[in-house]
Amino acid sequence: MDPEDSGRHARLVAAQVQRRPAPSRERWLKPVLRLGILALLIGGWQLIGNDEIQLAMPTFTRTMAALFDMLSAGFAEDSLLEGLVITNQALVGGFLLALAVSLPLGIAMGSSRGVANIATPYLTVLLAAPMIALVPIVQVVLGLTLAARIAVVFLFSFIYMTINTMVGVQEVAPDLKEMGRSFGATRWQMLRMVTFPAAVPAIMAGIRLGLGRAIIGMIIAELSLIGAGIGSLILEYQVRFQPAYVFGIVLLAVLEGVLLMELARRVEGRFARWKGVEGVE
């Protein structure tokens, strides 16, 4: 076979395998259904809401107006965007800390039965314990500080990432490790070139789960430890009887969570591509 020709053939095969287009009906049906449900929810919200009385549940439009009012303040002092930045400091700090702990711990637990045996009971306790119950303890130890909020985010997110990493490392196909050993891989080479890349899809799934938990932890820390971020803003608008503003802030936080999760899903899909999995739709 002419080399250029067979190269083209290889790419063709690759293209065929990678993109199997969904049947056209399915392709437009899904987004239409999704948008339809979203429209129904917003419409329902609009009907349930009541704008005659300021204290009653705000409609969608009143909430959006309040949200834009807050956003128009930009990053001024005590503004929503400033609050969001402050709140996210806990998310970034706690999530990065969780990553830094989970990856080495999970890999160690996955590679050594001894480490797994020692660490598993503690992880099980943390997994079973209602995390919200730990928040007062964190508050006693660390006070109403950024460190306390980071600790809460960390506690919420690191367990799933650790467990997924451990399972991912444990489930690396034994014949791949045998191949590595046969070709003379050192322990470090085996970890770097065989075990870790093989576990990446499981690790990325854990990171996605962990990020979701971290976002929950961030909101809970914000509301129960009353940080300087959106937690104090929510409290302030509650006291001032402005539910539309409270709704607006919550809506923005939810939106951030959805966007972050979607981002994580896409990153995960990219890392799992060699598995023939494009991420969960």
Binding site: A10, D175, R181, S182
Partner: protein, 268 residues
């Protein structure tokens, strides 16, 4: 030269017993294996499942320790995997996140060979294995036969003295298997290296080998060594020669005897 006449692989009374555990009796996987393989020889191991042919192959590679007898490769006792041996695995054992080229170069990468050099070597071996043009494809985009060609290119790339092949064509369909056998012989002729080939297919063993080692079960042991006196080079016509048919049916007779006379097994 006396050095080339020295055996490449020398097994004297090699055995392996797994100790009793979980209430199971100790299990003797292999016992008293005597086998001498010379440079450039193509030797097949064949036998009923549970005869330890794969276990023995992995012992020669140093993946499984033996606890009885002596096992030497190039005169040195086997204590672990080494650069003079390379395995072609039954289930290909390709790294799915690497391209064909990266997989073929993997052994060289482990040895610290620079990227340009290892890519050059891997490319020429991919060509040798008949996969030119697929360097940037991923394993899952290839058929089983093509994946095993990558496995072969990976083993060729580290330039070993001995190829250890563990039922490499076991999962391929009959046509692909025939093609792969002919290609393997072509590569083997060109390299002049020693091959130890585990298989469960009689015709495959006879077609490829200089000698066929017939193994028996419980304990796994060498039952008979059959010289294959078919002329080389062997081609598709070889498969229709009376001598080929005769040798294949001889191997089958021996195997059938073994399977039929074997006491009721408790599942291997």
């Amino acid at each position: 030269m006396s050095s080339t006449a020295a055996p490449v692989i020398e097994a004297v009374g090699v055995g392996k017993t797994y100790p009793a555990s979980d209430g199971r009796a100790p299990f003797t996987a292999l016992s008293g294996i005597d086998l001498t393989i010379h440079p450039g020889e193509f030797v097949s191991l064949i036998g009923p499942s549970g005869c330890g042919k794969t276990t023995f192959l992995k012992m020669v590679d140093g993946l499984i320790p033996y606890d009885e007898g002596e096992l030497r490769v190039l005169g040195k006792p086997v204590s672990g995997p080494g650069p003079e041996r390379a395995v072609v695995f039954q289930n290909f054992a390709l790294l799915p996140w690497l391209t064909v080229l990266e997989n073929a170069a993997f052994g060289l990468r482990l040895r610290g060979v620079g990227k340009d050099e290892r890519d050059r070597v891997a490319r020429s071996n991919i060509e040798m294995a008949g996969l030119q043009g697929f360097e940037s494809a991923y394993p899952r985009q290839l058929s089983g036969g093509m994946q095993q060609r990558v496995g072969l290119a990976r083993a060729l790339s580290v330039d070993p003295d001995i190829f250890l092949m563990d039922e490499p064509f076991g999962s391929l369909d009959a046509q692909t298997r025939n093609l792969m056998q002919s290609d393997l012989l072509r590569v083997w002729h060109a390299s002049g290296k020693t091959v130890v080939f585990v298989t469960h297919a009689m015709d495959e063993a006879v077609f490829l080998s200089d000698r066929v080692v017939l193994m028996a079960t419980r304990p796994g042991r060498v039952s008979e060594i059959i010289d294959i006196d078919l002329p080389r080079p062997r081609t598709d016509e070889t498969r229709t020669e009376p001598r080929f048919v005769e040798l294949t049916s001889y191997v089958w007779d021996r195997l059938r005897e073994m399977i039929l006379t074997e006491p009721q097994k408790q599942s291997a």
